[in-house]
Subunit: 380 residues, 2 copies
Amino acid sequence: MIKKRLFTPGPTPIPESVMLRMAEPIIHHRNPEFREIFKRVSENLKYLFQTKQPVLTLTCSGTGGIESTFVSLFSPGDTIISVNGGKFGERWVKMPKVFDYNVFEIKNKWGTAPTENEILNALKQNPNAKGVYLTHSETSTGTATDIKLISKVIRENSNALVCVDGITAIGAHEFRFDDWGIDVCVTGSQKGLMIPPGLAFVCLSQRAISAMEKSTTPKFYFDLRKALKSFADDDTPFTPAITLIVGVDAALQIIKDEGIENIWHQHERKANAIRAGVTALGMKLFSNSPSFAVTPVWLPENVDWKKFNSTLKKTYGITVAGGQDEFTGKIFRISHLGYYDEFDMVTIIAALEMSLNEVGYSFTSGVGVQAVMNYFQNNK
Amino acid sequence: MIKKRLFTPGPTPIPESVMLRMAEPIIHHRNPEFREIFKRVSENLKYLFQTKQPVLTLTCSGTGGIESTFVSLFSPGDTIISVNGGKFGERWVKMPKVFDYNVFEIKNKWGTAPTENEILNALKQNPNAKGVYLTHSETSTGTATDIKLISKVIRENSNALVCVDGITAIGAHEFRFDDWGIDVCVTGSQKGLMIPPGLAFVCLSQRAISAMEKSTTPKFYFDLRKALKSFADDDTPFTPAITLIVGVDAALQIIKDEGIENIWHQHERKANAIRAGVTALGMKLFSNSPSFAVTPVWLPENVDWKKFNSTLKKTYGITVAGGQDEFTGKIFRISHLGYYDEFDMVTIIAALEMSLNEVGYSFTSGVGVQAVMNYFQNNK
């Protein structure tokens, strides 16, 4: 009777009511019933991104969503500035190269975010840059970029489109597409939106929409001009993942009822509580610009990752994310993105305590959980 | 208390047990629990395609699946022979042009299938053709191509890869990937597989896998080399649509328990019963090479499509598919693909009778339903 619990930054847990909505008999995507749902989803996605601009729904992973922006907005030979501070940033450097774009890479140490000066220097060296790709919350390092500030810097110093990978950030971090002058933002369904993977969402500014007309990169499925044209009729160019869209409808209703500002605030509180908990246990935080979606923690020196992870998983039913690349076995990551409340944060820290205890790490039992509870009680 | 029933060729109805499996708490795609499911799905997909070759799972629609084969197996300037006998064949002519391939189109009248001679002529005119794209069951026209015969013709007369759009055919029509010498076959999840849309499956021969090494077309998400590499580890290169894969697992188990030959036979019987039913009502079949997945029927002369369709939908809760392009309002299409039994065939013909009666078409009441029942009783 061990309950299985995911504390992973995608897939994230799905509200029970949303799971059951998706299990209802399937409807046809050309029926008026579906169009009504899709229209409401598109409207509520605008609320999620804080925009009046269209938010397009694609059937693919988040990576497919980002690819759609590369192939739809730019052309071979165009210069793209891409920030690489982790596994995903690295992908947004590799991907545009595949399409023969000229890529200027800003390489950040894992756990750090790009600075204003790094962006300014890159823009100076690439006055013709057509786009700057930023990762709002880098999943592999739990590191957040100050998108509001960096977007301002880009807009004031160039004509490059501000392109944001918001895959793990949307629904966790404050994000204002219109007010902050963002041109492109992509998110995925299995993150802050709390539904299974299979959908990507792409928000486009008018400048981005204009850029689509000039793009010569070959594309078909990921051609956002097709998606935008269908969008005007509350439709999609290809058969969409219908049940997942029904799930998004239910999830967005929860988000709307809660209020997006409240949701951002709750994520900040959950992140702070987890930081307080692990710090109280004597562990150190990995990132110097920590995300509100996922918290990476240095594994204590004498703790073996495999043993620790196996205890968490097998004895306690808990899945956290490990470190990637050179940080495999050195850090682990706790997600608090999406459908988690205060008691879930108590649970994960309690599970860490019990597992750490079993693998021989010494600390005063209960201090982690106490720190989480204290934080929540003192910070509403 | 009107039940809503889909008789559309994708999405098709989903077995209740499959819907409930997909509604279970989500699991992580890097967990051993998921890998076990994915491994079993991949094995059972081989059974579905009747092959020992890999069947790759992509998160996208069927169109995305076909695109992955175009961009992964060929290069700009390559010649592709593409059969266009309807909306989908038309798409497989347009798509390769986008990637700067040289396309030789075999244009078939809607409702007809390509002949041996048409294929032979095309091969003679294009001795360097790298691939021939065929639609096994063209959804827009309910027309089946004799893939076994045409594949033999291609293999005996050229080195072109035999590429099959099996999107509406797999699970309805006999299909033997290995025995018939097929190189590429794609299907989608929302068809004979009886799960919601969002997944495409791509089966590749060794010749197709070798062709991938030579392809220079830019690609990332649809790069089948990536999918094949991950496949070896029971993994996917990008976050897959986890819940849909869990659904495929359940659906493939049903198919395996039933036996693929039985499923093909049942589809043939359902198609024959529907043909008997509509013919008994005095209506005419549209296709001269009818599919076992979907049956297109000429609307009787004095019957208004909008009125008829609205009666079916609003009074009786039944959704059928209309005609497309120049056949809009002239034909309609009844799907019997996937999760339908004999009584569903009785139901759709009964609904046609009741709706036709209400829109003033005259026939002997009950003859359609009687023909369906007679067919089933006399043809086991």
